[in-house]
């Protein structure tokens, strides 16, 4: 509890100690990706359904709030829940048929869905097609979810979103829902036989996961004020989200955050060292790490620490 308080305090004072926009931006990205990885973790880590298409929900959140705002002038704070609702609805539409598939089949189906959605977005002129959408700057205020002169509010909004997301996961982990999820992950037949409606709870996990990712999508759109299918819907985003959770520790509360805190700066660092993305050094390290963790430490870094320190994180 004390450690948690210190962590939260550190997060709150961080932008006042490290005043460089670069540092602030980096931590905002860490928080954002930690949130996405945590959301993925709810579905894949706890419930055992490995989705390789989570960018779909990120894109849904980003596009819903942006299209509402650009086309009809809807306030992004209303766009946020609208994006969540759309993503939840979409997740049920995708999940209902796809959850009939098991394991590898499910994972491949989610890749296929991701590719279809990205292609449709590229060719759908109403939402900007391949050109994407630019959110015009209106005014610098909390009400408009746009900040130009001081970027601090973005930091705190993202921190709040991440905190909510962590709280949701923490609640899930400790309540009946979490036990249902883990029962389904460990053995769906056994879960079914003790009366857990497997499909229903897979859908619940999917909906929660999609909703959280969509909130991240809306934040991203408001933060960058520009989106296109390549930035919010690519397979590489879906994979990055998995990677952070896998390296940090799948099925653990702190894993995704640990993964994001380590790997997002690593990618920034290699970009500075080697320039641009031309050399793909970050991916070289990411790929190797993913394989090494999967082979030698499937519970991730958090799992490793937990084993070493016994009680840590429990």
């Amino acid at each position: 509890m004390v450690a948690l308080g210190i962590l939260l305090l550190a997060a709150v004072v961080f932008p006042w100690v490290f005043r460089l926009p670069y540092h602030r931006d980096l931590v905002i990205r860490i928080f954002l990706y930690a949130m996405l990885a945590q959301a993925w973790n709810i579905l894949a880590g706890y419930c055992g359904q490995i989705s390789l298409g989570h960018a779909v929900f990120f894109g849904t959140g980003a596009y819903t709030s942006t299209v509402l705002q650009v086309t009809w002038g809807v306030n992004p704070w209303l766009g946020l829940p609208a994006g969540i609702a759309t993503a939840v609805a979409l997740s049920l539409v995708i999940g209902y048929p796809c959850f009939r598939l098991r394991g590898h089949y499910f994972a491949i189906a989610t890749i296929a869905v991701g590719e279809i959605v990205q292609t449709l977005a590229i060719n759908w002129e109403f939402i900007g097609g391949a050109r994407g959408l630019t959110i015009p700057f209106q005014k610098d205020s909390l009400l408009a979810f746009q900040f130009a002169t001081s970027k601090y509010p973005y930091y705190y909004i993202m921190l709040a979103l991440l905190a909510i997301c962590m709280l949701v996961s923490w609640r899930i982990e400790r309540t009946r829902l979490g036990y249902y999820f883990r029962a389904i992950r460990e053995d769906p037949e056994a879960a079914q036989s003790v009366g857990i409606s497997v499909t229903k709870y897979k859908l619940v996990a999917m909906a929660i996961s999609a909703g959280v990712v969509a909130a991240g999508g809306t934040f991203y759109a408001q933060y960058v004020l520009y989106l296109d299918p390549d930035s919010v819907l690519p397979l590489s985003l879906s994979i990055l989200v998995c990677l952070l959770a896998v390296v940090g520790g799948v099925g653990t509360l702190w894993g995704p955050l640990v993964g994001a805190a380590l790997l997002i700066p690593l990618s920034e660092f290699t970009r500075i060292q080697f320039g641009g993305t031309g050399r793909a050094v970050d991916l070289l390290i990411y790929g190797a790490l993913m394989t090494i963790v999967a082979v030698f430490q499937p519970a991730g870094l958090v799992g490793m620490f937990r084993r070493r320190l016994g009680h840590w994180g429990r």
Binding site: I108, A112, I116, L243, L284, A294
Partner: protein
């Protein structure tokens, strides 16, 4: 979004024909994946990157030693056999009984690593074999198709036939099949299953090596080239039924044709939507795929 186009019959025949030719290539790529899955229920998510490495092998043989892609076929196959062998020994063996998550992400990570390594070593540039022996178009059934594509598809069919013969008729092949059906029973019968699994990875990867050498004779070579073909291969295998080698052939050809028809009838941008859409429909109706046992 564009409306449906009405194509001429010549265009349609040409499309179907080139779809079938490409489908034979898809089938061979998918067969390697399917063989491995049949043996140990592991999907090689680095399969596309294996293909990419095979294509680079062929390209460098051409660029450095001026070896035609046709002559590189055995070299590429041997290199990939070795890669598959090493992958099994160093990674797969350790995750055989592991959780689903480890099984997926071990090879997924390997794929990301190999792709990044190719980009690191050889830059993201698109490369092409500029003057292969077989090039230019040829006319069949009143329409023209690419000669390299034709040669590639015939060769893939031959390789496919060889693979089928090997598995069903030779002693080693039957031992592989026995291992796929029941590893423990096979071990009790005195089959060295560990050797069979290693061999399965070698042969499965060598299939990709053969396809890669032919593909390199008419397709650009670049670090990300495997991603698209891998996606199609996953879909082909899932459509045909994981572990079913004849299933991959049928599914490969179906997918090749659907891809081209989707491009002609709807719009070129939607050809993969047609492929993935068809896949989703089929696996939802029949989750084990067309020929899957489950």
């Amino acid at each position: 979004m564009s409306m449906f186009h009405i194509p001429s019959s010549e265009m349609l025949i040409q499309g179907i024909l080139s779809g079938i030719l490409m489908g034979c290539l898809y089938a061979l790529i998918a067969a390697g994946l399917s063989l491995i899955f049949g043996l140990m229920e592991i999907v090689n998510f680095a399969h596309g990157e294996f293909l990419m490495l095979g294509m680079y092998t062929t390209f460098w043989m051409y660029a450095l030693f001026h070896l035609d892609p046709l002559l590189s076929v055995p070299i590429s196959a041997a290199a990939l056999f070795l890669l598959g062998w090493l992958t099994y020994k160093s990674i797969i063996r350790r995750i055989l009984g592991g959780p689903m998550l480890a099984q997926i992400f071990a090879t997924f990570g390997l794929g990301i690593f190999l792709r990044a390594a190719a980009q690191f070593l050889w830059t993201p540039d698109f490369r092409q074999i500029s003057d292969p022996w077989v090039q230019g178009p040829v006319r069949i059934l009143g329409v023209s198709v690419g000669k390299p594509q034709l040669v590639a598809s015939v060769a893939c069919l031959l390789a496919f036939g060889f693979l089928y013969w090997f598995i069903t008729k030779t002693e080693t092949g039957m031992a592989l099949e026995a291992t796929a059906q029941d590893r423990q029973a096979a071990a009790l019968m005195g089959i060295n299953t560990e050797r069979m699994l290693t061999l399965g990875w070698g042969i499965g990867s060598a299939c990709v090596g053969v396809a890669a050498a032919f593909l390199a004779s008419f397709f650009y070579v670049f670090p990300y080239v495997g991603s698209l073909f891998a996606l199609i291969a996953f879909v082909t295998v899932a459509l045909g039924g994981f572990g079913s080698i004849p299933g991959s052939l049928v599914a490969g050809v179906i997918i090749g044709v659907i891809e081209v028809l989707g491009g002609i009838l709807i719009a070129p941008a939607f050809k993969y939507v047609a492929v993935f859409g068809l896949y989703l429909v089929v696996v939802l109706v029949r989750p084990q795929g067309l020929f899957g046992k489950f």
